[in-house]
Subunit: 648 residues, 2 copies
């Protein structure tokens, strides 16, 4: 197997898009500055972070006690990574200066042997590396590595990169398969991603080797966590004390090659799969790629909500059984959906298969941005597919699933992953190989790639019209490979791909979801894609208990939902007509302004006063309105459903 | 308001019925002896009970430590009550002798001041009555009173009655509205029922007055539990330590007259309503009866599963919101369904309204006997309306809801309430007033009432045919009032009531669900009721989220369910045809022998391999089988559903 293409850098793409630019601005202008104040304990009413203060204490710059979760360091690391992307898309010398100062503190906190984790430096100096299962030292290290690489890329400054290289060297010195080293691996995967990024940034094989070690050691000795527990005399630190060891929760029950089903904590799993996919592509390792694909297929064909939500089991933020996708009880943590994008993006490097780009799109337009209130001020952690006021967020089984996005204060660190994603959105738009440029997403932007500058204009996801302007930087011919979403069919009317106005036989040129345009490009060449943006009915496999006989509406990549605010009567009493007379229109006012809404025919089952009746209920014809799923819960507490039964 | 009729005694009715006699035998011959061995710690593999041993220690007959829950005494009391009913229906001198010996131990354990609770006698002698909220002393007292009255009725022996009278006097001495007494009330209602029964048995007003005190004190000072907590310096005993005080859980948030919605722990609530209804009838207290009716209506019109299951919230075994009746997550504890029968039975004394008898029937034929495996050997605690193997009993949200009845050992005390109910079934068949005999249930039996001996022959619930043979004991005319279930309609063909073969205009003679036959009765008079036993479709109010658009099948009082064992494909993929071609037949072999099964037309939604598809699913015609709900989970783990979507 040979890697098909490499990822590009964040700063190669400038997003200029009616849909995404506003979101990027919310991230750079609102979220990042707010988080900085939280990390500095400057926001009244928000639970104390102490994350920077912990580093100051570890650095000897302040006196004091450690405060926070055992993984508090990662909050700062994730913020720094977000800052790096933010500086790439919107330079800000003041912010950069403040970030530099914080990096100096981090550098000072690092111990002479390279160790860096303020919880153990300040609070438990005698217990380093004794509880990989619960104590997140490797997790925090991984996030710091990601931040360091991003910051170096964005600013050219390698101070944090040096720090994390020394940290990585310290880790390499302690863990490994060699005799005399500890054969440990992390309880929460993440360091594998960090090490792979260190490798890509530095070219040093030892980091890639260490990533492979951590991945391949996993599951070789499923009792490792138990053995370290005995070794430390059942002591524990931090807030965790797992009595029962179910190591499938940490994906350590089998080796990565033996694992055929996505199980356990969803974010742990997807961070692991992401690193596996990166390593598979980087090493051209077909066996490892196949292991990734098996897990990918299991998720996509058995465990993925239609919204891209991942994690049907709220207990442990975990994958549930195959086909067990409860709507009102869904966990579907945004972080897992974002991690699914990381995974998909890495899979593309090994194989340009449109299914990966399709899932990236599904995640981007649904279960990730649903996190954010339309005004950018409040955030969800959990993304259910059904909401019932008075039940959601309140009753047993549903407490995790809030009917409205809570205020900042409730989850100050939660938006971080969304920040990382949206600020770095550019790098998901293209990949590049020696011979081809691959376009994965329809997002208005200007890209500076190796072989060409490409400007894209589009009003996607609302309209099926995309225009590429190509300005080549080479005399040689190369391929522009454009991802065609799975729902676009060139056999249909109004669906057309043209180059400089001339139609091309796109069906013929399409392979696994990409249309390959191989030619000598000239400045000013225009590729134009056009397809009808229809309302589509989607059905779940009847093995999904809750969705059998139901339909969900999609338009382009956007999944729709129904809210009480738009529809009369309880949502469960509504039925969508099998003869779907759907009309779409752009909403021109109110909080939903700028979103395309859908109206369809249906009926309402009318009930009387009785709880049970032997009279067949009467059905009334109604028009039912759907709004984009990501825009739910912006009009106060009200019912919401994605799936609705269909009737003849 | 005047009481309409009195309850009869258990030993006035001998059940001779093809449906119920076998169940009664299981109770007298299997369950009661087994429980005796459990209480004596003689069953290997079953968690230690120690209940009798605790009394021996309290009585000074043995040395040792207290063992068990803070309400362990009630296990013995409930068993003794069951023994009393069992002796009424099937005399057993050996069993009676052993029960007498146990009663002697109980008497010896009673303290000189009348106090009786082995937990506090043996383990916490300094802390009596300091934690009414959590410590169940009044609850245990109430159960002992019920046992005492039942035992006296069955055997004529008043030893235990004397003990509980002294206990009641002790309680009266301590609690009450008078100055100098403590204004407390129980955290778990039950003593109110016990005191009312003591009153009925002895005629002593003080017991009724005390029951009224406990009922009316409730909610007057909703902070009582909090105040006693402060008073005892936040100490607690037993296994409970409720940090947060939500006194609506104990129905203490308002006075009984202010409470309009059934909330909190379902069994606590229904024990309270039962005592309220008893007191209302006994005192002819219209205001109190109205308070009961309001709560009754709330349950029956908003919070009752079609199976009679009660408790939509597994957390705290509690009532949920109005119309919130999750099927797979249902709690629907058998004890609550049994308590609903107690409540209904007491309501009948104030008002002969068929709705009470209808609900008694619903509970008897569905959510109570569903507890017991058909072979009598295993028991459910929880009675869901949907079961999914791999999810039920396993995953978050569903752990309480097992896919098969667990062994005895898992809930040695659970069958007790079912034992009480089934052994005493006779007393629910009739009530009697000065002028009338009321027949509530169609159960084959011979009854010795004041005004007449009445023999009933029936093959109910499988056939709509009931025959009464009346042998009057009086020359005067009296009324035989027969409950006509709500689904019987005299305007229909094949529906007829005859007296000595002559049709009577039953519609004309019917008032609130009872047909009143007022005449001078002669020995050998025969009343015969005949009605067609059709398969009926029942619809839930569309306000019930999970059942909107679904149908459930009933035949007579029996609710049906669908099991995977009988139907191909996952149950959620099945749809019942709106043109219901139903056929019933008596099952002649296998574990379901003797049960009427139903086959109906429907279709199956066929799925492919994909998780989501834009191809409308194909529907295949199928025949769908339903079995009585109470008989589910007798053929290994498999899917089960009561509600099924209906399609045109």
């Amino acid at each position: 197997m040979k890697k098909e293409a490499d990822e590009i850098k964040v700063n190669q793409v400038k997003i200029v898009d009616s849909f995404w630019s506003g979101l990027q601005e919310k991230v750079t202008d609102i979220v990042i500055p707010f988080q900085e104040r939280v990390l500095n304990d400057e926001v009244p009413g928000v639970p104390k972070s102490h994350a920077i203060e912990n580093f100051r204490i570890a650095a000897g710059l302040k006196e004091g006690e450690y405060y926070g979760m055992v993984f508090q360091d990662s909050d700062l690391a994730k913020w720094l990574e977000g800052v790096a992307y933010s500086l790439s898309v919107k330079p800000d010398p003041d912010l950069e200066e403040r970030a530099d100062e914080i990096i100096e503190i981090i550098a000072k906190a690092q111990q002479p042997d390279g160790y860096l984790d303020t919880y153990f430096i300040v609070k438990e100096p005698g217990h380093r590396w004794q509880n990989l299962h619960e104590c997140h030292e490797l997790y925090c290290a991984g996030h710091m590595m990601e931040a360091a690489v991003a910051y170096a890329e964005a600013t050219g400054k390698d101070r944090l990169l040096q720090v994390t290289e020394r940290l990585a060297d310290h880790i390499i010195g302690r863990f490994g398969s060699e005799e005399g080293k500890e054969h440990g691996f992390p309880g929460h995967q993440e360091v594998e991603i960090g090490l792979m990024k260190l490798y890509h940034a530095t070219g040093k094989e030892k980091y890639k080797d260490m990533a492979r070690y951590f991945l391949e050691e996993r599951g070789k000795n499923p009792n490792y966590f138990y053995e370290e527990k005995i070794k430390r005399g059942w002591q524990h630190w931090g807030q965790y004390n797992t009595e029962e060891l179910d190591v499938s929760y940490n994906q350590a029950h089998q080796t990565i090659y033996e694992q055929k089903e996505a199980v356990g904590h969803a974010v742990r799993a997807l961070y692991m799969y992401t690193a596996m996919a990166d390593l598979a592509g980087t090493d051209g390792d077909g066996r490892l790629y196949q292991a990734c694909r098996t897990l990918w297929d299991n998720i996509v064909n058995r465990k993925l909500y239609i919204t891209g939500g991942i994690g049907g089991n709220p207990e442990g933020e975990a994958f549930s059984n195959n086909y067990e996708l409860p709507n009102d009880m869904a966990y579907a943590e945004t972080c897992a959906s974002i991690a699914m994008i990381f995974f998909a993006h890495r899979m593309l490097e090994s194989e340009m298969d449109g299914v990966y780009a399709d899932i990236m799109e599904k995640e981007l337009y649904n279960s990730t941005i649903s996190r954010m209130q339309l005004d950018g001020k409040r955030y969800f952690y959990v993304n259910p597919l059904e909401c019932e006021p008075g039940v959601s967020g309140k009753l047993f089984g549903y407490r995790h699933s809030l009917p409205e996005r809570p205020g900042w204060y409730a989850c100050a660190c939660c938006p971080t992953n969304l920040v990382r994603l949206i600020a770095s959105l550019g790098k998901y738009c293209f990949s590049e190989s020696d011979t081809a440029v691959y376009s994965h997403l329809y997002i208005g932007q200007k890209a500076e790639l190796k072989k060409a500058d490409i400007a894209m204009e589009t009003s996607y996801p609302w309209e099926g019209k995309v225009l590429y302007r190509v300005t080549p930087k080479t005399e040689e011919s190369f391929t522009l490979a454009i991802h065609i979403p799975y729902y676009v069919d060139f056999r249909k009317d109004d669906t057309e791909l043209t180059v400089n106005g001339k139609p091309v036989d796109a069906g013929e040129l399409t392979k696994k979801g990409y249309v390959y345009l191989d030619r000598k490009w000239n400045a000013g060449d225009v590729v134009e894609l056009q397809f009808p943006m229809e309302v589509r009915r989607v059905y779940a496999n009847p093995l999904v208990r809750e969705d059998a006989g139901c339909v969900a509406l999609m338009r382009g990549p956007v999944v729709y939902c129904f809210e009480g605010a738009d529809n009369e009567g309880p949502l469960q009493s509504l039925r969508i007509s099998r003869e779907l007379k759907a009309e779409s229109h752009m909403c021109e006012e109110g909080i939903l302004k700028g979103n395309v809404l859908i109206d369809v025919d249906g009926c309402r089952i009318c009930g009387g006063e009785e709880l049970y009746s032997e009279k067949p209920p009467v059905r009334e014809k109604v028009r039912i309105r759907a709004i984009p799923y990501y825009a739910w819960a912006n009009r106060g507490e009200n019912q919401m459903r994605v799936w609705m039964p269909e009737e003849g």
